[in-house]
Symmetry: C2
Subunit: 290 residues, 2 copies
């Protein structure tokens, strides 16, 4: 299949490479052309605008930083819509606003273009190993058409619902991960300040209802004081901003998510943007005099 790929960054580059390895022909575009070099060596063709990269492809992936970036690469002066033939499927794998995603899909439909939102989780390791979780929103038949391509990049691939539903699922993922990290951080700090061994407490809790992958992985990071990412504070903060903006638009109160978003803000103030977000425990400790 002729495929376009926009945004071959830390996540995007290994994802694009997995598509090439599976035998697909890739047209790539990056804001900074030098980042496409590895893909070009692997057989991709590099273009100087999203419009050109979109020309003649059946499916074009985008994975960029934030909502305005997606809008720019799709609808901008040299955006995808300026080059794509009718029926092209635009698959946005960025993590952006669910509300904006629905609007983008409606605008594209009017122009005869299809859209899926398909944000991922699993980090750089998942991108390299092709084991990402992919949460997709959009028409079922479009999802089925793109699914073989998703399977080059991920393992846990779920069609969640209509346009925007993938972004909603990703937002939910970030809420649960952030708030569960907070839960574990508060519990382990409480244990230690009570004079108990937090390592033993974690062990005792793992077997019961308090057990989770966050307790296992992020709890361990807290005990070891090892905050190498993993998933960076700066990105989690951005994702929680999207959550809180969406909650604002919908009139839904998310009190614990809002609280943890503030702790991510605090970490930014502590210049800890590049730590793993399990560093939330540092906020709890600092707050109580450590």
């Amino acid at each position: 299949m002729n495929i376009g790929f926009i945004g071959p960054g830390i996540m995007g580059a290994p994802m694009a490479l997995n598509l090439i390895k599976a035998g697909h022909v890739l047209s790539v575009y990056a804001r900074r052309p030098e980042v496409t070099q590895g893909l070009v060596s692997a057989g991709a063709m590099a273009y100087s605008s999203p419009a050109e990269a979109a020309s003649g492809v059946d499916v074009i992936f985008t994975i960029v930083s934030d909502t305005p970036d997606v809008e720019e690469v799709i609808f901008g002066e040299k955006g995808i819509v300026k080059g794509a033939k009718p029926g092209t499927v635009i698959v946005d794998m960025s993590t952006i606003s669910p509300t904006a995603t629905k609007q983008f899909a409606e605008r594209l439909e009017k122009q005869g273009l299809e859209m899926l939102d398909a944000p991922v989780s699993g980090g750089e390791t998942g991108a390299i190993n092709g084991t990402l979780s992919i949460m997709a929103g959009g028409k079922k038949e479009i999802f089925e058409r793109v699914k073989p391509l998703f399977e080059c990049m991920g393992k846990n691939i779920v069609h969640v619902g209509g346009n925007g539903a993938g972004q909603v699922a990703k937002a939910c993922n970030q809420i649960v991960v952030a708030v569960t990290i907070e839960a574990v951080a508060e519990a382990l700090t409480f244990a230690r300040r009570n004079g108990a061994d937090p390592e033993k407490v974690r062990e005792a809790l793992m077997g019961g209802f308090a057990g989770s992958r966050i307790m296992e992985v992020h709890g361990k990071r807290m005990l070891d004081n090892d905050f190498r990412p993993g998933f960076k504070v700066g990105l989690h903060q951005k994702d929680m901003r999207i959550v809180m903006e969406t909650a604002h638009q919908l009139g839904v109160a998310l009190p614990a998510a809002a609280l943890v978003a503030q702790h991510l803000n605090a970490l930014m103030g502590m210049h800890d943007a590049d730590l793993d977000s399990s560093a939330i425990v540092k906020v709890i400790e600092r707050m109580s005099g450590e």
Copy 2:
């Protein structure tokens, strides 16, 4: 072994029965004598005070409602200390204050008595099936002596540390369970209000870092609107009161735990004390106009 058992209630009665089934001789005491009838039929002897039930036993278990109840049955006018011989081990399986527990253990040591704190999780089902999780605090050698008795009642039996450490672990368990329920409740409400299918979102999330036993079990209860306990709001509220009192004493900030404690308070105001604590989702929904 000659064993005393004080507080054969919803949890205590099946736990005591499992000790009898394992061949132990039980002396029981209950504030309401009628609740001991089942155990007496099974071979236990009922006494009219904790002091009498403690007379001549090697180990005496207590499982009562709250910190003052434990103080009363141990140190009260007809308390355990009035009847127990030197060296008797008092094993408190109630969920009470870690701070008070440490003080009780010190007072008992001065009187030549041993103490373990050994709160449980796993609910009535775990008590009946002998599959409780038991988190124990106290001297290691005393724990080892009582361990065969714990094995009649539970499966996941951990010695967490010195006196009070079991109560600390239980408190941590209740923090993590409460805050994770809140996380799942906020995420599933957010999903639904965004027009996504919360069932599909839960599925998509289960495979990744947002996966947990709470997402699995309590998330399902929320989707099914089925709040039969499980673990009751009224008990979870009481346990979170102990957590917040202990945090107050230690000078440790637990912002998310405090927030969720308020949601449990709200459920009490909604007359939902007897629902499963996954009913926290009702607070989130109601808060946002449902």
